[in-house]
Amino acid sequence: MSIVYLLIPLGLGMLALSVWAYFWAVRAGQFDDLDSPGVQILLDDDRVPPPAAQRSRDA
């Protein structure tokens, strides 16, 4: 069972690492907006403006 004396400190190290990563994410604002980024990936913004987009008037 002496392996636990190695594994548990290792686990503690990973715990510290995950808490650090989580704190970083919170500070970086990763949890501030949970709605917009999910859709943003679907919308690409590198389209060239179509030249045909000018106003026209119909009666």
Binding site: R47, P50, Q54, S56, D58, A59
Partner: protein, 822 residues
């Protein structure tokens, strides 16, 4: 020239198209119809920037873009910059905006992408969840007014927030809460593995060294949880003790603190039981409850400063002969300002010269304009209708009438359901009882079996944590609010849902509520055929462009003839103006005919029921007559049918004439209808019904029914209504239709049922668990598990309110194409 594609609604805002005359935009080669010049400008801008995908991805139609740009230049002044933005060390400025009309992530994307093309803007983030935007820009290269104007051009309304406002505080509070929750969560996950090993060790044997090692590791993990994550409980318990009013946090702090200290001592001495696992689990679940409650509070807070938006963004200040645009914050008592027709008054004041008519409906509820002459008082936030006046400022900012109304409203907005207050009151008694009980149990066990005394007291403290009790209502409310938000219904007051569940009568305003509120041109008759129809329409559009009357909007989509001068408005009758040397009048028939030299009575007869007729004439007689009609919202009949099925009795209470009201009532299935009601009549109607014991829901657009809305048990406003309606109503329907109303009624009833279930469960649980714990049959870890399980059950029960991911609310796009005249 292309023909509009066969779409029955406006490409940009989804609103209905005018019957006569139409505008369009070219979308990838095909012309798509839009309803007005404002929408055309917004759509053209969006398309020309290559952002057409907005239209593919948006989840709700855009708000109808208002034609006519605001003057944002006051925001470039040094004082405004200081107030609304914050200078960073690198010379850039940061500003936070609230954006009206922002519905979905596609709107946020559109604004971000369009703004990021402006040189000088270095950072932009739009949060679709909160409708807030954060901009960072270089003031030497981009003016704030330019950025604000661009957002308005896209069809949204930006409202700069004071930089000291709650946004930064809220974000900081939320982040801290998330960190504490995270620490407790990680700690709980890690500790549970050690706890399982230790309990297994108790049963099947474990070496003393390993046990001691596991206890030390547990101590290591539990310490940050208690000292950092559980800190708010200690602070709040200490504060409530100092105020001599022990709150719910006292037993919490006591059990967390005592169990931790006891366990630390036991670990260091190497004997006795440890309760690290219970401590951490307890902390995590309590923090989770707090987090849910905090999110709810923040969401409610967003409505808070809405009344302040009624103030204009800028005001014309007169000093000597010089006139300059300043922000209302810069005004001081004693200064002179000029208020133009169509502007809102920026501060309380007294008219120094000129006279005008003022719409004070937001304060008095009286829709009819009031005449204000030299020496009369003007109130901040009211709308100047007809004449330009100069006034001397008497009160500004927080001293103004508007600010005190706003304070009253925000106070009312803090109200919670009665059930929630009840739970809080019970909880306060509960705390005292628990502390007494714990002391009694401690006394008993110290005499009976001293070694069992501490674990038993701890078990009692933990098991009785009023967690389920205090979670029962806020979580259910949060779930119901979220469910309704998804269906396009904004809940501004939690208490309203409770009353909505018990309502039995529902009154609808007609114009703008059951109907679209947008008059549409249905028919043009030319009695004398003296001018071609097109010219008549152009003249009418030019004249009505100067009118604030609701009917004038029927002409907003037409191209007006240029060169209107000398406009004179006669309230309630019409207006006249000079155009290309001819004096035209538009309005009621008698008013138009009065202006004619000869009075040839050649008016066309036979007006259809439900139509409103206005006339256009010049000095030599009548030129044209326009029949306008306001059509029912597409989802109105279905909504009425479903509400009736839910047991509510619908009725119409309208200020409109009996003809159109009766017609609408007939179309909706022979509804009871009250026509020709003034605001006071409506108020009397609501009060009479309430005296008869009915519980009233009032649905309006808020133009002249703000006091009626306030008098009803529950008020509902349509989002396209006025600003004030949004503030004073309990529920706001955000979608373009009424269908959210069914959902609101159904959800409120389920909410009340679930709150009752939760409270019943919490009481039942405590009645069984407390005797067991006091008798010493429950170990602290079982108590923590039981408490957590109970809270979890309450939360899961409340989450049933969220339901399955509902389909988006029925958009008002699916109505049949309108006949196109002209």
């Amino acid at each position: 020239m292309t023909t509009p594609a066969a779409s029955p609604s406006c490409y940009h805002c989804g609103g209905s198209l005018p019957a006569a005359g139409s505008l369009s935009v070219l979308v990838e080669g095909a012309a798509r119809a839009v309803c007005c010049a404002g929408c055309q400008a917004a759509a053209t801008l969006i398309l020309s920037q290559g952002l057409a995908r907005y239209y593919d991805f948006r989840q709700a139609a855009a708000p109808a873009a208002a034609p006519g740009m605001r003057d944002w230049s006051a925001f470039d002044r040094e004082s405004a910059q200081r107030r609304y933005s914050h200078e960073r060390t690198d010379g850039e400025r940061e500003v936070s905006l609230q954006i009206e009309g922002l519905h979905c992530a596609a709107c946020a994307w559109l604004i971000e992408n369009s703004l990021s093309r402006i040189a000088g803007l270095t950072h932009v983030h739009v949060n679709a969840g909160t409708a807030r935007a954060e901009l960072r820009y270089d003031p030497r290269r981009a003016a704030l007014s330019r950025l604000l104007a661009r957002i308005q051009e896209l069809g949204f309304m930006p409202l700069p927030l004071c930089f000291t406002g709650g946004l930064a505080e809220e974000t900081a509070e939320r982040r801290t809460a998330l960190k504490r929750l995270g620490v407790a969560g990680f700690g709980m996950m890690q500790l549970s593995t050690y706890a399982v090993s230790l309990y297994a060790g108790l049963m099947q044997g474990i070496s003393a060294d390993l046990q001691q090692f596991l206890r030390f590791v547990s101590l290591l993990v539990a310490t940050p949880v208690v000292l950092y994550a559980a800190r708010p409980f200690f602070v709040s318990a200490w504060q409530s003790l100092r105020a001599r009013r022990p709150g719910m946090d006292v037993p919490v702090a006591l059990s967390v603190g005592a169990a931790y200290v006891w366990s630390v001592v036991a670990t260091l001495r190497g004997s006795g039981a440890v309760y690290f696992d219970s401590v951490v689990m307890f902390t995590f679940f309590l923090l989770l409850g707090r987090y849910v409650e905090m999110s709810l509070r923040h969401r409610a807070g967003m409505q808070h400063d809405a009344l302040a938006r009624l103030l204009p963004h800028s005001v014309l200040r007169i000093s000597g002969v010089r006139a300059e645009r300043v922000t209302p914050d810069e005004l001081r008592a004693g200064e002179r300002v000029r208020v133009l027709p169509g502007e809102r008054v920026a501060a309380d004041g007294r008219i120094a010269s000129g006279s005008t008519e003022v719409d004070e409906s937001l304060l008095t509820g009286e829709a009819a304009p009031r005449v204000r002459r030299c020496g009369d008082a003007l109130i901040a936030g009211t709308l100047n209708l007809t004449g330009a006046v100069e006034m001397v400022v008497t009160r500004t900012g927080q001293d103004s009438t508007l600010a005190s109304v706003s304070r009253l409203l925000s106070h009312a907005g803090a109200s919670r359901p009665r059930v929630a207050d009840l739970a809080d009151r019970i909880a306060a008694w509960f705390v005292g009882g628990v502390l007494l009980l714990a002391a009694a149990v401690a006394l008993y066990w110290l005499q009976a079996d001293a070694s069992r005394a501490f674990p038993t007291v701890l078990a009692v403290l933990v098991v009785t944590c009023p967690c389920a009790l205090s979670l029962a209502t806020p979580v259910a409310l949060a779930a119901a609010t979220a469910r309704l938000a998804r269906a396009g219904v904004l809940v501004t007051r939690g208490r309203a849902l409770e009353r909505l569940a018990g309502a039995d009568r529902i009154l609808f305003d007609k114009t703008g509520t059951l109907t679209r509120g947008e008059p549409r041109l249905e028919r043009v008759t030319l009695p004398g055929s003296r001018l071609p129809e097109e010219r008549c329409l152009a003249v009418a559009a030019a004249l009505e462009g100067h009118s604030g009357h609701p009917l004038a909007r029927a002409f907003a989509h037409l191209t007006p003839a240029a060169g209107v001068t000398d406009v004179r408005t006669v309230a309630g009758r019409g207006l006249e103006a000079l155009l290309a040397g001819t004096r035209y009048r538009i309005g009621r028939l008698d008013y138009v005919l009065e202006g004619c030299a000869a009075s040839p009575a050649q008016a066309a007869a036979g007006i259809e029921p439900g139509h409103t007729r206005i006339a256009l004439g010049d000095e030599s007689g009548l030129l044209a007559q326009f029949d306008l009609a306001d059509t029912l919202r597409a989802d109105a009949p279905e909504t009425i049918r479903r509400l009736t099925a839910l047991g509510l009795t619908p009725a119409i209470a309208s200020g409109d004439r009996p003809g159109p009201v009766a017609q609408a009532a007939r179309q909706l299935g022979e509804l009871a209808a009250h026509a020709d009601l003034s605001a006071a009549d409506k108020l009397a109607l609501v009060e009479r019904l309430r005296r008869e014991g009915h519980r009233i829901v009032m649905v309006g657009d808020g133009v002249n029914d703000a006091p009626v809305l306030a008098a009803a048990d529950v008020s509902v406003a349509i989002a396209s209504g006025t600003d004030l309606a949004k503030v004073s109503a309990d529920l706001v329907l955000l979608g373009a239709g009424l269908s959210g109303l069914n959902c609101a009624v159904a959800t409120s009833r389920r909410l009340m049922r679930i709150i009752r279930e939760n409270l019943a469960w919490a009481v039942l649980y405590n009645l069984t668990a407390v005797p067991l714990a006091a008798s010493g049959a429950v170990e602290p870890w079982m108590a923590a598990l039981g408490m957590s399980g109970s809270s979890l059950l309450v939360v899961l029960n409340a989450l049933r309110l969220l339901g399955r991911r509902a389909a988006p609310p029925m958009p008002e796009l699916a109505h049949p194409p309108h006949p196109v005249h002209a």
